[in-house]
């Protein structure tokens, strides 16, 4: 019982983390048809910006809870700056290319973002444990959990709810839906697709940065942290269906649970199982488990 509960919690915490990282990726793909490898770069930048600013805050003697605010602020800054610049300066010129070519371009961006981190933040790791220590721990199912990791669950639910609300209950959601359905018709009926694209990309980038920023207090923030993360979030997005937000949620829960199960029971299978599921899903349902049915255009 205790073991099951622990496993469930471990899986859900990891799933929440994966969801926050992946949801931006899936939104960008859904609206813009871009499979964005540079998302990993936003993640890393978010983590560094947060860890750096939390470190500065600690040196200035600001209280530990202040770090929680900095996490939000730094991910927004990263998303806004990089999201805007990259969409305006680079991606906008590539929309006429094939999806795979755009994928390559984002891979190039990913590499650039990685090295910019080295140039800006240096090569040594950063620690920003203050927010994690501040929130302390709580006993659940017989073992202690840090509240900070548990709060990931809440954040994931919040992100999911906000996405759902915007898409289904606001004018913005309707516009997005139209753009996703048919870009040309949206143009024809007077939707400013350019603006929609910029904001979508900024939101996607901010969510990627938020994933990195939020996880930064629990890890040592060091070069190369995004290399594993980006393929994992690809797996999540592919399993759930590229472009589908509920899909990302379910993909994240599946991957999170599988990984927790593997670490608890069969540690050798930890990575294998995630990508095996990704491959199997692609083989039997290439559009993902929960992708909406699509009209095939010939």
């Amino acid at each position: 019982m205790q073991a099951t509960l622990t496993l469930l919690l471990d899986g859900l915490v990891y799933a929440s983390y994966l969801f926050i990282v992946s949801v931006g990726l899936t939104i960008v793909f859904g609206v813009m048809k871009i499979l964005n490898v540079a998302h990993g770069g936003f993640y890393a930048w978010g983590a560094y910006a947060a860890a750096y600013s939390i470190g500065v805050a600690a040196q200035l003697g600001l209280p530990d809870w202040f770090g929680l605010i900095l996490i939000g602020v730094s991910s927004m800054c990263v998303g806004l700056i990089f999201g805007y610049l990259i969409e305006r300066l680079i991606l906008r010129r590539l929309y006429q290319h094939e999806e795979v070519i755009i994928l390559l371009a984002t891979f190039g961006l990913f590499l650039v973002l990685e090295d910019l981190i080295l140039l800006v933040f240096g090569v040594n790791p950063y620690f920003a444990y203050q927010p994690m220590v501040y929130l302390g721990s709580v006993e659940l199912g017989g073992i202690f959990r840090d509240v900070y990791s548990l709060s990931l669950l809440g954040l994931a639910c919040l992100v999911a709810f906000v996405c759902w609300y915007i898409l289904n209950r606001t004018k913005w959601g309707k516009i997005l839906g139209t753009v996703i359905y048919d870009r040309e018709i949206s143009l024809a009926i007077g939707i400013n697709v350019t603006t929609v694209y910029v904001w979508t990309f900024i939101i996607g980038a901010t969510l990627g940065a938020l994933g990195g920023a939020y996880i930064s207090p629990t890890i040592s923030v060091a070069p190369g942290i995004s290399i594993d993360v980006i393929v994992l979030s690809f797996a999540v997005v592919v399993i759930g269906g590229m472009g589908s937000i509920p899909g990302a949620l379910i993909g994240a829960v599946m991957v999170g649970m599988l990984r927790a199960l593997a670490v608890h029971q069969f540690p050798e299978l930890e990575l294998f199982v995630v990508f095996a599921v990704m491959a199997i899903v692609l083989m039997i349902r290439p559009e993902g488990l929960f992708a909406p049915a699509k009209v095939r255009r010939i």
């Binding site: 490898v37 290319h97 371009a105 190039g108 990913f110 290399i227 050798e268 990508f275 290439p286």
Partner: protein, 320 residues
């Protein structure tokens, strides 16, 4: 008929000529240049494999799978049987990669575009996941690969291996070139342009792609084996991880799909650029690569080779 086509074909002429040039120049190169050239040419062979698919409009984001299989085939062959002979090693790399390519080909031949890229990525990451966690397969450490022998003879220098690599590179280049010129080869370009029309002509597109995929896997696997022999080490992070696939795709974009020689030139250029970049600006290497990739996509969609073609064309015109 074939002989006639071949003899009138310039590409084959200059592949032979450059093979000879390299074989002679190789005798006088310092070791580290010889090494760098070997790494570059081996990677070039892998990129040639990618090029084969690219001509059909398919970009694999998981070819490190075959690169890794080739490399690990060489390492595991040595670990479990002690074999270090170049021909057996090559055979192991080639067969292992072809078999896996043949099996996965049944699935992948039905995929196009981004789905092809993603499924390739998934397969390569499955191998990565297995290697990284398995002690018997070397986990993150990988294995050392001892020096290659040739029919029981242990050469003093790396030159024989170098000769072997350029020989295989030249054979593969000619082979791929002849294939592109054949009816089947032309067919695959047609597949890229309009698949449905090809089907109407009575060809099986899936089968044509499958065949290509196996060839591609075989080339890349052989390349991985050669790379492992030239380097003397295999490990998952520099041979199987997705970044390696990305690097191979980068070199193929850098070289462009224009010629079978382009991948080799592109890969050797890449290798030496990297050597110097690591010395001069170790923290800006990925920046250079990423920036170059973007630049090529923006300004030179047909790769560096198109620059070369441009120069050649101007010369021809002036002469004509």
């Amino acid at each position: 008929m074939i002989v006639k086509t071949l003899s009138s074909d310039h590409t084959i002429g200059w592949v032979v000529a450059s093979f000879t040039t390299l074989a002679i120049v190789g005798l006088f190169l310092p070791n580290w240049v010889l090494n760098g050239t070997m790494f570059g040419l081996a990677r070039g062979l892998a990129v040639l494999g990618l090029l084969l698919l690219w001509r059909t409009g398919l970009i694999s984001f998981g070819h490190a799978l075959y690169f890794g299989i080739g490399a690990y085939a060489v390492a595991l062959l040595e670990k479990y049987t002690g074999v270090s002979d170049i021909f057996l090693r090559l055979a192991a790399a080639l067969i292992a990669a072809s078999v896996v390519g043949f099996i996965l080909g049944f699935v992948l031949r039905n995929y196009r575009g981004i789905f092809f890229a993603m499924l390739s990525l998934a397969f390569s990451m499955v191998l990565y996941g297995v290697l990284i966690k398995s002690e018997a397969l070397g986990s993150t450490d990988g294995f050392s690969v001892s020096q290659t022998t040739i029919l029981g003879w242990q050469p003093e220098t790396k030159y024989p291996l170098f000769l072997m690599i350029i020989l295989i590179g030249a054979l593969a280049a000619v082979g791929v070139h002849v294939y592109f010129r054949s009816a089947l080869g032309h067919l695959t370009t047609a597949v890229r342009d309009n698949e449905i029309r090809v089907e109407y002509l009575g060809y099986s597109v899936a089968r044509a792609i499958h065949l290509k995929y196996v060839f591609s896997a075989a080339l890349t696997g052989t390349a991985g084996g050669l790379f492992a022999m030239a380097l003397g080490q295999v490990d998952p992070d520099s041979m199987v991880n997705w970044t390696v696939s990305g690097e191979l795709v980068f070199i193929s974009v850098l070289s462009g799909p224009g010629s079978v020689a382009a991948p080799f030139i592109g890969a050797v250029a890449f290798e030496f650029l990297r050597t110097f970049a690591f010395e001069l600006a170790p923290h800006a290497w990925q920046l250079i690569v990423g920036g170059t990739l973007l630049g090529i996509i923006f300004f030179l969609p047909r790769g560096l080779w198109s620059l070369m073609e441009h120069v050649l064309m101007r010369k021809e015109r002036r002469r004509g």
